[in-house]
Subunit: 393 residues, 2 copies
């Protein structure tokens, strides 16, 4: 297999034209959902509409708000500490207060923004539903609910309608991080050895991923275990890689805010027939899932296509609740490939295909690839995992 | 100044004895606030009481819950995908569901937990107030509000009463990361050069911090500018370091989940008299803030002590709303050193002392150290910034 070693990263940031496109798309979806405005607090939602990029969201102290009226550009209502950085984005209407302020953490500023909103439907959409959480004190949101003339509605569906279909520029970003990490996964057997710890493996891989152009690696479970792993969500430990281990690595690495999310499996020294068999089966299940992810199909269809391959082997149930999902500015986004899910797969969605199973008690294996849905069908963004389980000596 | 180059990191994880102590402390504070239980959703709160450590919280898809009854060990109500990892903690009562589930994402499981709670005050405390946000869909929390016999009260004060006073083991963790990063900051002038980009500086420093034993670097603004920086919250850019620049670096790096949070300033090539003067003033202001952070004083007293030094120079206002704060499992935690704040400083609080000012229009400088409050007074956790502005050539 040939893999390009150094891919040219796309330009960072997005044009004003791109943000205008996103806004117009939002306005049209808001209209469909009869919303006068979107009220946003989650970092990924704020970044999507503004390009505002700060690690400062790691400080949970201060709330940040973005209001998107149906007839105007976004209005940022943010702590004064963020003003200069927000001024570098395309947002013009920026209102700030000295946060943290226990008496009024931006709420009276929000009142004045809402007061001036043009009203058509008398409703504001907020992040109230599935896969959302309001990043502000519940008590403060209640003050808004009580005092605003507008009705607050759940905008979850509208927000995901906007964000699950990616723009060309977003796809370029995700494609870059997927290709960069694929190349690092591919080279991994050459740089790690039996006897090294999970933590050492993690550090080596992280360095390569950063060198290949990634900005950050917020998510990298590295787990090993004889004949399979017992779980897939912990970081690396000081456990040494031993002959007969399965080594599982997953990563959500980012480029300019955009995630990849896919894993790889390696056998240390050798692999039992059972492990090889499960690997082959999951490779085929992934293939089936990829092929099923066509415009017009449902995420339930993808689930079904994958499940058909693995159901006979699924002695013990798959417990992650789904067999893949969306991704983008978040490690995981809607939709979910789950049983009987009727969410339509649309052109320009970016999805993971993620079959997994527990083949022996406490022994898991999970495969994962990232794809783009094109009008002609699925297109791999990751470089496909090797058809045979790679062995590390 | 002598700095130990390689500090031995404390053992990772905490003993069951430690978690029992935290729980007993919580029980007593819950009793004072008349709460039958705490209902927790935020990663730092869940980790504080369980030790549960996963990067999987980067996936916003699934909610995770922890209920702390007044008479029992914590009950984890979590996605099935986290079961095996949670079983490795001291928590015994673990209830799981196949998440994500659009019809019931853990809510009926929570109902059954609340139904069985022993009732004394008929109230459950939740993360409803300042510096908190519920990490679950608002719609689902409303279902709890509507159906539970218990009243939900704001537990913000109770939670921070528990968490702002650190245990000895927590202090050891924070001390380690502060010392490790201090040493990297100290060595930085030896490894970077005029003409390098902010991004290159950031990568070099990050590698050193990881090599010195840190686990992750979620937060590292690196900003440079002639005679000062215009903001302090963005990541590094491709701007090259030029003669006359002030280079500002801040970091929240972690060890076993615990943060340091402090910055350093460097002059590139040379510094104007004004920049030197501001540096000296902020160094003295930091000193005054450190000395004021004694048990029994208020955070308002710390603010006052710092402000007294800088107020004459504060031509343009300091806009971060405070002059320091708590830290621990979060980059920023209560309390805040702010004007007239009457929060009492207690033994074993860990605090930042963070004076900053805008000395020319659009030109900022901020100093920061981390301290432990002991019964004998403040104790530095960081190695004090050099008294004179370091020059990088």
């Amino acid at each position: 297999m040939e893999i390009s070693r150094k891919l040219e990263p796309p330009k960072k940031g997005f044009s004003v034209f791109e943000f205008e496109e996103r806004l117009l798309r939002a306005h049209s979806i808001m209209h469909k959902h009869k919303l006068d405005a979107l009220f946003l607090t989650m970092p990924a939602n704020i970044r999507y509409f503004t390009g505002f990029d700060t690690q400062f969201f790691h400080s949970p102290t201060r709330p940040w708000f973005l209001v998107i009226p149906y007839n105007k550009k976004p209005i940022a209502v943010i702590p004064e500490i963020g003003k200069t950085l927000m001024e570098m984005t395309w947002v013009e209407d920026i209102r700030t207060w000295d946060s943290p302020n226990p008496n009024d953490d931006g709420i009276s500023l929000l009142f004045s923004v809402f007061k001036d909103l043009k009203i058509k439907f008398n409703s504001v959409g907020a992040e109230l539903g599935m896969e959302m959480s309001l990043r502000m004190p519940w008590i403060d949101f209640n003050k808004l609910l009580e005092k605003q003339k507008q009705t607050f509605l759940d905008a979850t569906q509208a927000i995901w309608e906007i964000r699950t279909v990616k723009t060309k520029a977003e796809i370029n970003h995700i494609n870059f991080i997927c290709k960069a990490v694929s190349s690092c996964y591919y080279s991994l057997p050459k740089i790690i050895n039996l006897g090294e710890t999970e933590r050492q493996v993690s550090e080596k891989l992280k360095k390569n991923i950063i060198d290949s152009g990634a900005d950050s690696i917020p998510f990298m479970p590295v787990v090993s275990g004889q004949n399979g792993v017992s779980q897939i969500i912990s970081g690396p430990s000081d456990k040494e890689l031993e002959k007969g281990d399965l080594l599982f690595i997953d990563t959500g690495s980012t480029y300019d805010g955009y995630f990849c999310d896919f894993d790889r499996n390696y056998a240390i020294g050798n692999a039992s027939d059972e492990v090889r068999e499960v690997y082959d089966l999951l490779w085929l299940a992934t293939e089936a899932g990829i092929n099923a992810a066509k415009p017009g199909a449902t995420t339930g269809d993808v689930w079904l296509a994958i499940n058909k391959i693995i159901e006979d082997k699924k002695l013990i149930k798959n417990n992650v609740g789904r067999l893949g999902h969306g991704l983008g500015l978040q490690l995981t986004e809607p939709p979910s490939h789950s049983f009987k899910n009727e969410t339509k797969i649309l052109e320009n969605m970016v999805l993971t295909i993620e079959p997994g199973l527990e083949y022996l008690p406490g022994k898991l294996m999970v495969h994962e690839e990232n794809i783009l849905v094109t009008k002609d069908g699925p297109q791999l963004l990751t470089t496909r995992a090797p058809k045979e389980l790679p062995i590390i000596n």
